[in-house]
């Protein structure tokens, strides 16, 4: 099981630097990916935590929204850990897919590439693979169907319980 939990604050800055962050954002600790700044963590059971950290970065590079925090990308990809736990072939596909990204990215691996454009260049080389399509396809629902992200895009969701929009701005446009 993958659990997203609120991380215990406690890793010192020194320790963080020692462990090596992902662009100083995410930290691998034991079987978990931790975001010390935002106080959440993601524990993996089937995939390597490094793999999960790369998946989170990859998810952001596929559907980059600078205003959406990492946590929602983490939730969007955590299903792959569950699936890998149930299906050995799936696990291999993900681990191999990530290893391949690292290989194509040179010494520092995929997460070591500093610019999004560089990482996108690597993704472009694999975009027709079942691995990439599984990650991208899963994100369409996994990322955009999280109710918590809707307000970030200005989408208000369910409206019946509020009586619809008849008295809440269905025709409030003013700039035309």
């Amino acid at each position: 099981m993958v659990t997203i939990y609120d991380a215990k604050p406690g890793l010192s800055r020194r320790e963080l630097l020692k462990r090596g962050g992902i662009g100083a954002l995410l930290v691998i600790s034991g079987s978990a990916v931790i975001s010390p700044e935002h106080a959440w963590g993601l524990e993996t059971s089937a995939l390597k935590p490094e793999t999960m950290a790369t998946l989170i970065q990859m998810a952001r590079d596929i559907y980059p929204h600078d205003q959406v925090p990492d946590k929602y990308y983490a939730i969007a990809v955590k299903g792959h850990d569950e699936q890998a736990g149930k299906d050995a072939a799936y696990k291999t596909m993900i681990e191999d897919g990530i290893a391949d990204l690292d290989k194509k990215s040179g010494d520092g691996g995929y997460r070591g590439l500093g610019w999004e454009d560089q990482r996108v260049g690597v993704l472009k080389q694999v975009e027709t693979t079942p691995f990439f399509q599984a990650i991208r396809g899963g994100l369409v629902v996994g990322l955009y169907n999280q109710k918590e992200v809707w307000p970030i895009f200005g989408y208000e969701g369910e409206s019946y319980s509020k009586g619809g929009y008849i008295a809440r701005g269905f025709d409030d446009i003013e700039w035309l």
């Binding site: 980059p64 208000e156 969701g157 409206s159 446009i173 035309l176």
Partner: protein
């Protein structure tokens, strides 16, 4: 009180499907005292049960049994197992539909005479005219509470409409308004008026939008002559040695096969399932499937020439607030070959919530070009193109050679290639819609590809002559007189208009015909 009929009762009319065609026919017959059993593959959800959530509602209502696709349409690549976005539930696709209710234009009933022969298109005149349809259109509009008819006011325009209207004015379009919608603009028929909730595609939780689920079906049930049997998937229609149909084999809620005997069978499973059922009912006497001596069952599949255009502005729009299809421009619906294509198209506003926008704006796309569009979701306006597409013999529903569903019935394959006329029309519409939004100050526009088909038509076409089609002008099979087709698969050609008003009008007309034939004992 809803009726309950015995499986061996061979005096009943069995209707397959409870959507626009089947639900209406069932009620109309019940009102005349005819006993009817509707077999419906889906479950019964009342309108309080609907969900204001795109994917949640999709799981609740949509037809998700596997289908396959082929052909050059983009849906085959993006959604290979979801050629159509339609419903499996009591009420059929009238739970999901937006409510746009337009009459087909006079010349669109006579496409072969009007457009002439077109290479690669199987054009044919309908065996009925607008004049013959008019009284039934009037009955359908009255039944459905269509705005802009019968003194019912049109709905107020929402933000998405206001953007459309401003663009239409700038481009000089003359016929732009909030449409003819089967949505209550005032309380009527014991249902309330539209609350501008904005989830029309997810089922109207107020019951303001017409659906057979909470209009035709309960009214029919109240006569004591109608039974709706949910979770009953028809698999095969049986016939006797003389070729008359005698009953329908269906899988019940436990997957057990039952046979409901019948005096008359009417097929209304929408244009993929109806031909699938007729083809699957092949027998020694009818080796190519029922009602198929013409070879036309499953052919001429049409889905309307569609596409959407979304546009981003530098200020907010909130297009998702209020009715999903909130307005229309009709100027391009004329037949004017100088535009480079025959037939015409309508522009209708459309909005998707964020989850569906992510799935449908540009399926398969990724990266910043795509995500920056979504970043401005609340600054977006959008419209849908719906135009006449060309019937083609090769565009067809066939039974899959080896894949079967849970009941052992071969699944349907849907083949579709765009005709050059479809492509020319779509490109024209993309250009016009882009100009329209640019005129209001759009900073970016998106010509969005067609979604899985919401309009599915033509696969059991109506024809004057038996060799040209499957059914006659009453939807009665040319080959078998107690077998009827009662849904959009009867359409000879597709016309530019959304099809449901015509499906309902045909069902009302068909009920008159069936009842008359029953009294005359000819069937």
């Amino acid at each position: 009180m809803a009726a309950s009929f015995d499986l061996n009762n061979d005096g009943v009319v069995v209707i397959i499907g409870s959507g626009a065609g089947g639900g209406t026919l069932g009620n109309e017959l019940a009102q005349k005292g005819v006993d009817v059993v509707i077999l419906e593959a889906g479950a019964r959800h009342e309108y309080e049960d609907f969900i204001n959530d795109e994917w949640g509602s999709f799981s609740q209502l949509a037809w998700t049994d596997k289908r396959t696709t082929s052909g050059d349409w983009r849906v085959a690549k993006d959604f290979p197992n979801l050629p159509a976005w339609i419903v499996k539930s009591v009420g059929g696709s009238t739970t999901h539909w937006a409510g746009a209710s337009l009459r087909i234009q006079e010349h669109e009933f006579k496409t072969l005479s009007t457009y002439g022969k077109l290479e690669g298109a199987n054009l044919l005149d309908w065996p009925i005219t607008l004049a013959e349809m008019e009284p039934y259109y009037a009955k359908a509009e009255a039944k459905m509470g269509v705005t802009g008819t019968n003194d019912w006011p049109r709905l107020p325009g929402n933000n998405n409409f206001k953007v459309l209207k401003a663009g239409a004015d700038k481009l000089g379009y003359k016929e732009c308004h909030t449409g003819n919608m089967a949505i209550n603009s005032v309380d009527r028929d014991d249902r309330m008026s539209c609350q501008q909730t904005g989830f029309c595609f997810q089922g109207c939780k107020w019951g303001a939008k017409w659906s057979t689920l909470y209009t035709e079906i309960p009214k029919g049930e109240a006569t004591g002559h109608l039974e709706v049997r949910p979770n009953a998937m028809a698999i095969k229609i049986n016939h006797d040695a003389s070729g008359k149909v005698t009953g329908v084999v269906y899988a019940d809620k436990d997957g057990k096969l039952q046979e409901q005997k019948a005096r008359i069978v009417a097929v209304a499973g929408n244009s993929i399932e109806s031909p699938r059922l007729l083809l699957n009912s092949a027998s020694g006497k009818f080796p190519d499937g029922l009602a198929n001596s013409s070879g036309q069952v499953g052919k001429n599949y049409m889905r309307h020439t569609t596409g959407s255009v979304y546009a981003i502005f530098d200020k907010p729009v909130h297009m998702y607030r209020g009715t999903t299809m909130a307005g229309i421009i009709r100027d391009e619906a004329r037949h004017d070959p100088s535009r480079g294509f025959v037939g015409g198209y309508e522009f209708e506003t459309l909005s998707l919530g964020l989850p569906f926008m992510a799935a449908f704006l540009d399926p398969g796309a990724w990266g910043r070009s795509f995500t920056t569009a979504l970043d401005h979701y609340d600054h977006m306006a959008g419209l849908w193109i719906v135009g006449e597409d060309m019937p083609r013999a090769e565009n067809r529903i066939t039974l899959h050679a080896d894949e079967k569903d849970a009941h052992g019935m071969p699944i349907a394959d849907v083949h579709f290639d765009d005709h050059p006329n479809d492509t020319a029309m779509r490109n024209h519409a993309y250009k016009q819609a882009t100009a329209l939004y640019d005129a209001v100050g759009a900073t970016r526009t998106f010509p969005t590809p067609p979604y899985p088909s919401t309009h599915n038509l033509g696969t059991n076409r109506m024809s004057e002559k038996a060799e040209d089609g499957v059914v006659n002008k009453h939807g009665q099979a040319h080959d078998i007189k107690n077998l009827f087709v009662s849904d959009g698969s009867q359409f000879t050609t597709g016309a530019a208009e959304n099809p449901t008003l015509t499906i309902v009008s045909l069902a009302i007309r068909q009920a008159d015909y069936i009842a008359a034939q029953m009294s005359a004992k000819t069937i």
